[in-house]
């Protein structure tokens, strides 16, 4: 059962709101203070990715963020884009990043995934159980 559930129309302006809510719930749940910057960044990256996919596919469906704190702090960010959009997610190395032919969108996607993988020890990207879409699931320990 989610403690807090937030859904927002897929517009960049709302990503900041999702970050703020995600960190507020994390703090109240008891996530260690020194992890909160990473929580903020990871939730932001997951939401940015979802917004980008919805815009790419012309979807007006809301992006869903669920935060729960039963034993640990778990955050799910759910998009409704076709699952194939999530295939091929990988971090880029320095040579690929500096390659002139890499466009900014692909670079941002690779960098975003590197940040998620780098800042979240317990990270899963998988198809949603119901309908079309992908969920990014991130878990942090609670300090209590």
């Amino acid at each position: 059962m989610a403690t807090v559930r937030l859904s927002f129309s897929p517009a960049p302006v709302h990503v900041r709101t999702a970050r703020l809510v995600g960190v507020a719930v994390a703090r109240r749940a008891g996530v260690r203070e020194d992890l909160l910057d990473e929580v903020r960044l990871a939730i932001g990256e997951a939401c940015t990715r979802a917004v980008a996919l919805h815009r790419q596919y012309g979807l007006t469906d809301p992006v869903l963020v669920e935060m729960s704190d039963s034993g640990r702090y778990a955050v799910r960010v759910v998009d409704r884009a076709p699952i194939e959009a999530s295939i091929g997610l990988h971090a880029l190395d320095a040579d690929q990043l500096a390659n002139e032919s890499l466009n900014e969108d692909d670079l941002t996607t690779g960098v975003g995934f590197a940040l998620l993988a780098g800042f979240v020890d317990d990270l899963q990207v998988r198809p949603v159980d119901d309908g079309i879409g992908t969920e990014v699931r991130m878990v942090w320990p609670l300090n209590r």
């Binding site: 900041r16 960098v111 940040l115």
Partner: protein, 113 residues
């Protein structure tokens, strides 16, 4: 905190001081400003991230875009950053191997950036 942008000149360098949050919403304004600077002739650009308190992949993408654009016109691009949380972002993404990173504006402008 909203994005703030201020430009000053140090020798032959154009220093863009960035403050606040650079994310998917505000990054387009940073991109626009960097393009304006380059299009108006700036060739040695230093972006000072000293007052940035949030930077995401979109912002990083804009910075890489500016670096590549300046390379095509024989320009240079460097970043000023001494905050550990931001430096960690550059290390995790391997972008610390792509950008010249300096602890101060003086170091960036004096290092031939």
């Amino acid at each position: 905190m909203e994005l703030s942008l201020a430009t000053r000149t140090v020798g032959e360098h154009t220093v863009l001081e960035v403050g606040g949050e650079v994310d998917v919403y505000t990054a387009p304004r940073l991109r626009e400003r960097l393009l304006e600077l380059i299009d108006s002739g700036a060739r040695h650009v230093v972006v000072d991230l000293g007052r940035v308190d949030f930077l995401d992949s979109t912002g990083l993408g804009v910075l890489v875009g500016a670096l590549k654009r300046l390379r095509t016109v024989d320009g240079t691009f460097a970043l000023v950053c001494d905050k550990e949380p931001l430096l960690k972002i550059f290390r995790i993404t391997a972008l610390d191997q792509v950008f010249p990173l300096h602890p101060t504006v003086e170091a960036a402008t004096g290092a031939g950036a």
